[in-house]
């Protein structure tokens, strides 16, 4: 069910245009720093272009750290499902359903036989 209609961002030219407008806005905002006198409340934000630099660097650091966190926090999608209560048969006394391996894992307790 592919539609043949051309959409706004199917054309790379439009993306280019949007990005150019965006870059222009960014440049304009930095230039405005010279025009508008910010009455600053603190020594840090009286630095030149404090907010643009802080925003940019902050976000790059955020993404880099988050990416690094993936190396030790990421697990397969079904990671917890294996431990879901649905798979836990020990309460249903359905011993036949448990494989020997499962029984061994649980310490092979045999109260009823």
């Amino acid at each position: 069910m592919k539609d043949d209609k051309k959409h706004l961002f199917d054309d790379p030219k439009n993306i280019k245009r949007l990005l150019n407008i965006f870059y222009l806005c960014c440049a304009l905002l930095v230039i405005l720093d010279f025009v508008i006198h910010r009455h600053t409340m603190h020594k840090w934000d009286s630095l030149w272009a404090f907010y643009p630099i802080y925003g940019f660097v902050g976000c790059v650091v955020l993404v880099v750290v988050a990416k690094w966190m993936r190396t030790f926090l990421m697990r397969p999608e079904d990671y917890y499902d294996k431990y879901s209560t649905a798979n836990d048969n020990s309460d249903t006394i359905n011993k036949n359903a448990l494989t020997n391996n499962d029984l061994h894992k649980k310490g092979a307790h045999h109260v009823d036989y």
Binding site: L32, A66, K67, A108
Partner: protein
Amino acid sequence: MWIIDLPPFVPFFIGALILLFTRGILRSAIMVAIPIVSAIHLWMVPEGVYLQFAFLEYQLTPYRVDKLSLLFAYVFHIAALIGIIFSLHLRDTLQQVAAMLYSGSALGAVFAGDLLTLFIFWELLAVTSVFLILARRTQRAYDAAMRYLIIQVLSGVILLAGALFYASEHNSLAFGYIGLDSIAGWLIFIAFGIKCAFPFAHNWLTDAYPEATVTGTVFLSAFTTKIAVYALARAYPGAEILVYIGAAMTCFPIFFAVIENDLRRVLAYSLINQVGFMVVGIGIGTALAINGAIAHAFNDVIFKGLLFMSMGAVLHMTGRINGSDLGGLYKTMPKTTILCIVGAASISAFPLLSGFVSKSMVMSAALEEGFDWIWLMLLFASAGVFHHAGIKIPYFAFFAHDSGIRASDPPNNMVLAMAIAAALCIAIGIYPQALYSLLPYDTGYNPYDATHVLAQAQLLFFSALAFVWLNLKGLYPPELRSTVLDVDWLYRRAVPSGLQKVFRVIWQADRALRDAFTLKLDICLRYFSGKSDRLSALLSQNHPSGSMAMWVAVVLASFLFLSFIQ
């Protein structure tokens, strides 16, 4: 007039009862009418105490109205109305009744003037909301709902314990300023903290909210955490520890939000981030900071609801919510896209939208009170929230690569609910004085001066520039199908598998002991049966009659013996 004395939770509870016996259009009409009628009623109620009675030597105040509780009650009515409109297409009595009871419980908690009433509604919030998760009717949702329920009820139990300590210390159950100078203070603080998603106690939120139903999450995001914020604002304004807890809450979730795949879970993390701003405001405790915290809670209910609704609409129409499965939906869901962007821009605090007029109050208060480093953290969190909630959510759902999904815009009631929320976001952003007039303090704060607007615009545009640059360089982490570990790993994996190991040793020891005992018993029994077999053989060649004769002899001998004793 008695109708004034009627607490606002009553119409919601009665409404929930009526819903059980109605169907179709009538039910929809009643559901929409209840929050509207209740809100009009509330609008006419002046401040004061309306319901009070003595219970076991204690004065209980189930209905107390002041500026703080009124503001939260207004936004809860708005949230309930929006949520109900969003779920009008549903034909699910369970969810509709649960949502009505849940909204009513939130209103009950907000007007509670004593700790016992607060405790009752605190637990009702937990018990009614869990059905919004269970109504998803999947195994995952069931598991998440049970974990959610345990943690929420635990919070209630701690609150009750704290309330009992408080009663014995102060000989009163009145719910007002409590402070952190006694055991009661700390217990109640912890109870509020669990519901407020403090760090390490936050996982119930990111665990359960994304597993709830499409419409259930909208209700969930509005009430539970905001009740906790309300309670903290009443009981612990100016507690400095809240500044640090809140700052941590604004910062750590954004890292998880960047790498999380489930877009509703991303929103859950950003919910913690937003609540962090409120907690910082309460911790600073000045008039401006408290105003900012409360105003931000008001706005957050609306824009976070809008974001959850837009992602709910995506889930409802496509059946998918993972960033890795979505993309390119702007082509066929233009209305949802635009409304989602309004919500995303609001939460990012773009000037002229609602987030800006409240978040800037907290930030200004932090600078004024000399919390420099906290201010830097909040600034980082503001950039970060734009990065993950402002850009990531709309970008991966509606733009990015074309996933080939061609879902249409959701049913009209869903679009209407989102449109109302979006209109409120814009209206509050353009005319914040309406919201400011409802706040408890008059600070004469004006968010729209050139400094604030320019600084915020610079911060946001360059955060966006970072996103664009990272994306063009291919450095932005792609959306991957995955589970990201969080504190819940401790109670979902580490403790269960640790316990399993312990029990394994116990079971093995138990088995060895049991086996040894049965072996000994076996040997004993065999010895005696061997003996009795030989005796029986003396009495008769036939085994059964010999055995019988022997046992009759034994019985008779016993009788003889017993008669001697007498």
